[in-house]
Amino acid sequence: MYNFDMTKNIRLYLEGLAPLVVISMVCYMYKDDLELLNIAMLYLLPILFTATRYGRVPTFFVSLCAALLFDILFVPPVLHLTVHDMEYLFSFIIMITVGQLVSALATKAAKTKELEAGEKLYEAVLGSLSHELRTPLAVVIGATSSLLSKELKLSDAERIELCESAFLSAKSMQELIENLLASARFESGGVKPTFSICSIDEVVGSALLRVEKKYSKEAVFKIADDLPSLNTDALLLEQAFYNILDNAFKYGNNVKVEIESSMNDLIVKVCNDGNIPRDHELSFAGEKFCRLSNSIGIQGTGLGLFLTKRTVEALGGECEIYIKDGYFCISIELR
């Protein structure tokens, strides 16, 4: 980590110095045709270049180098550090001040941009949420108002159909609201796991049964023998598995669930084929309100996997997301 930062910093300084060297060479070649004042102006260019890109410290470094090079190469006596005229000392100060001022402005501009991006994300979230809530709500109001209407002549079958769609919509609103409340609880630090001994196959199994019932489909479920017991919050963990299993059935045709152990760790893998995201998007998977390209046209809020990740982390486990043989997999390791 430290080495990486070092090389990154050195690269940053070198990138700032490169334009300075180029300018110095050009100016040196034409030094007889250029006035000192013009050369000083040209020397501001690499400083501004660094200031708009790399922040205060590299800018200061480049400004200092610029002042020194300017002095050595152009200010008489040439190739000496000595300065006879106080006027030039003043130009060095200007170089450094301009560099610092511009880099401060650039930092401020970048922050404003970040804020704007944040606002855009907020708007996107609000937009997606209000859509996800309004759609089922529209169905509930539409269906129940039709049922109440005295003008509509509905057959019994139609009445039942309306009731069913109102019921299903209310159910989907319920899931959304529970997820929102759960993520709010996580944000406010209100989630305190209560640990107790339980068995992972029962926790995963009951989440799986709920999801299989919802989608009327079955997963391929493999449980290794002699799994160790687990000390965890069974209720939180079951909900965590429910979220990713629900996603797996929502996007996939075939779902595979495997529980195995290595040493004292338990590993649960949930994989689905079908409509899976692209490889390069995986680093965004599980970010709050983030939905990947495969989710277009499918209802959801981008909260499920986020909640699972946060829950697993709160319980001392780890999540890994990968794509293998056309299957999108989430592997959860618990201790």
Binding site: Q174, L181, S199, D201, E202, F221, S229
Partner: protein, 225 residues
Amino acid sequence: MKQIIIIDDDQAIRKLLTLALKGAGYETLDAVNVEDALNKVALRVPDLVLLDLGLPGKSGLSFLSRFREWSDAPVIVVSAVSQEDKKIDAFELGADDYLTKPFSTNELLARIKATLRRYSGVSTTHLLECGDLRLDLVARVVTVNGCEVKATPKEYELLKLFMQNIGKVLTHNWLLKEVWGVGYQNEVHYLRVFMNQLRQKIESDPSRPKKIVTETGIGYRMVCG
């Protein structure tokens, strides 16, 4: 006609439950807080109590502990998701079942029916049945689809408890106390191992148990039909 008391502070919920229960042929009575409820059940013991945990003032749990001092009438506890940690407390205090809001009317009626059936007189038969599963208390024989299943004494004890309490949630603590005795309450892994063996013998797909289902974090429940 069976009488059910609805204890809930929300008027809309009381109205909805009253409507559903009357429609299903029960007589209803309602109460808005713990004092009100205690006064009403003292006048006439209901056949079943539907208790909301999130009552204003004293909580539903305090009603439950007071009520259990003198009555064995079945109590079904109802609460919001945010109070799930109170589930265990409710069962330890003697609740018979637990429903999380929001729930469907069908589910509520099914739970009420199962609970009332369990209370409607002690069974005098020595044959316990649940779907294709039969347990003969006299011969100490368990059969699935007519075929005898060899159960160890502990497995038999466990299964007997489930078949005597069909539809009821049995907590880990209670099962450990009944089968292994006092002092084993923290040995949940014993229970886990025996439940696993039992399921291998009586379930058609042990990884997806349909007869003895898991109530995550609480215990198990036997479901028939």
